[in-house]
């Protein structure tokens, strides 16, 4: 089980969290204006990297808030968490 750092509540067990997908996937501002390929990319295509991965989590059974984190997907080690809109740790 992962130990996950909520930016507001600190380290908590993974059971309190819900994974919420790849981070920084932005919905096109005007969906009608984008091509089918771009819309498919937004909806379905994911980076799915083996290495550093920026992801969203929600502290569901805690403060309830969404935040982002950087994790290495081969070791599952976190580099750090950051609030939505914030800069990922270097």
């Amino acid at each position: 089980m992962l130990l996950i750092a909520c930016p507001w509540c600190g380290d908590r067990p993974e059971l309190e969290f819900r994974h919420a997908g790849e981070a920084h996937v932005t919905r096109p501002a005007d969906p009608a204006a984008v091509s089918d390929a771009a819309w498919t990319g937004f909806l379905y295509e994911r980076q799915n990297p083996r290495g550093l991965y920026r992801e969203r989590w929600r502290h569901l059974h805690g403060c309830g808030r969404f935040f982002n984190a950087v994790r290495h997907t081969l070791t599952d080690r976190f580099l750090g968490s950051y609030p939505p809109g914030g800069e990922p740790p270097a």
């Binding site: 992962l2 990297p49 992801e55 997907t73």
Partner: protein, 418 residues
């Protein structure tokens, strides 16, 4: 070498000194092939076998970064069934099931296919309704599936607790009698042996690290590997959890995420469990192997990972469910647990497809449940590669279904895993 009663008797009498390796495993690849299959799991080996036996497109190689069957093929709980909801899925999985039924004979290799029946439990009113919907849809599609009362479920699987006192009592079950299990390693070995006998080169310890393309047409011209460059006209990618990484070598982003999925086995005991039982609601799957171990399937972790080791709490959750459904196993000890990395699509249906890159084909997205499809997947994918045109059964599973919105949403249909 063909296996036969005569051969078995002869070897028994001379101390089994005459057996030879079952497939050729050349250390070095040829400089070029007509078709290269990337990935030596069951699906890749089956693809190579059906290519060589039915289409003869020229020289064929299977490139495997580790050893054949060392991926999800050798890590899975081997549940085989075809009672999926939608006609497209039922057609694909039942095509596979029909091939399973004659596979040992076709390959002259005992894959130990054992159609002992797969029973899927219902624990709530919603489960009952969705289970009945599946039964009716399957029967209309010509796929066997029947509904059992709790008493009938108990008769079919005596260790099952059908009392009303448990937290999630059994309210009924869907049974596919043609479903069952097979020996995972034997499937990889059987296809490898049969493909090798038809001239397919199976190169183990050969990781593909790059895909070469024609600068003008963009078509595939070869691959870069740990054993040097290899030319090819067609490349079939069958890399399960690693598919996104391989396709990125050709500049393609995939509708996939890779998750750890775990299983575990108990200490071996005398035959006690006659069938396969699955419960999607409490999330546990169980059968007994011929060695006597209980084979138990757990869930995926919630986050994408390539760690090949999931969280311990996932195993705990599954064992709690098993102990509740089968109190007889409460004092059983577990021997070992392991994980595989499964590639999951947004609609939980596989991708069997051509791609925007000429000469590049992909077979992936089988997620938590592709072992059962191994023969059918290889068969229709081989035809798709050979003819450069989707096999009719594979056509609905094309990569462009996402852009076209023609999803085959088995996930929403049943929330089934295997």
């Amino acid at each position: 070498m063909r296996f036969s009663w005569r051969g078995l008797a002869r070897e028994a009498l001379r101390g089994h000194a005459g057996w030879t390796p079952h497939w050729r495993s050349p250390e070095q690849p040829q400089p070029g092939y007509d078709v290269v299959i990337l990935g030596g799991g069951g699906h890749g080996l089956a693809t190579a076998y059906y290519l060589a036996s039915q289409h003869r497109p020229g020289r064929i190689a299977v490139l495997e970064k580790g050893w054949i069957g060392g991926g999800n093929t050798g890590r899975n709980t081997t549940i085989i069934r075809s009672n999926y909801l939608f006609p497209e899925s039922a057609a694909l999985y039942d095509h596979a099931l029909q091939l399973w039924e004659g596979l040992s004979l076709a390959l002259n290799y005992n894959v130990m296919f054992s159609p002992r029946g797969v029973m899927m439990l219902a624990h709530s009113q919603h489960d009952v309704q969705s289970g009945l919907r599946h039964v009716h849809a399957n029967r209309l599609a010509g796929v066997d599936n029947e509904w059992l009362t709790p008493a009938e479920a108990k008769a079919f699987c005596p260790p099952l607790d059908t009392s009303a006192a448990i937290r999630y009592p059994v309210l009924g079950a869907a049974l596919q009698r043609r479903g069952g299990v097979a020996r995972h390693d034997a499937v990889a070995w059987g296809y490898a042996r049969a493909a090798s006998a038809l001239g397919v080169d199976i190169i183990e310890g050969c990781e593909v690290t790059g895909i070469d393309r024609d600068p003008v047409s963009g078509a595939v011209t070869g691959v870069q590997t740990g054993k040097g460059p290899i030319r090819c006209r067609k490349l079939g990618v069958v890399a399960a959890g690693s598919t996104s990484l391989v396709m990125a070598m050709a500049g393609l982003r995939m509708p996939l995420e890779s998750f750890p999925l775990q299983a575990l086995v108990s200490e071996p005991v005398k035959p006690v469990f006659p069938c396969v039982v699955m419960s999607n609601t409490v999330h546990a799957y169980i059968s007994q192997s011929d060695k006597g171990e209980l084979v138990i399937g757990a869930g995926t972790d919630q986050y994408p990972s390539y760690s090949q080791a999931g969280g311990v709490q996932i195993l705990g959750h599954t064992l709690e469910a098993i102990c509740e459904m089968f109190p007889i196993f409460r004092r059983m000890r577990m021997l070992r647990a392991w994980g595989g990395i499964v590639d999951v699509t947004p609609d939980r249906s596989p991708i069997l497809s051509r791609t925007p890159v000429p000469g590049l084909y992909v077979n992936c997205g089988w997620g938590t449940g592709g072992f059962k499809a191994t023969p059918g997947s290889g068969h229709v994918f081989a035809a798709t590669i050979a003819r450069d045109e989707p096999h009719p059964i594979a056509a609905p599973f094309s990569l462009d279904r996402f852009a076209g919105g023609r999803l085959i949403d088995e996930a929403a249909a049943a929330a089934v895993a295997h």
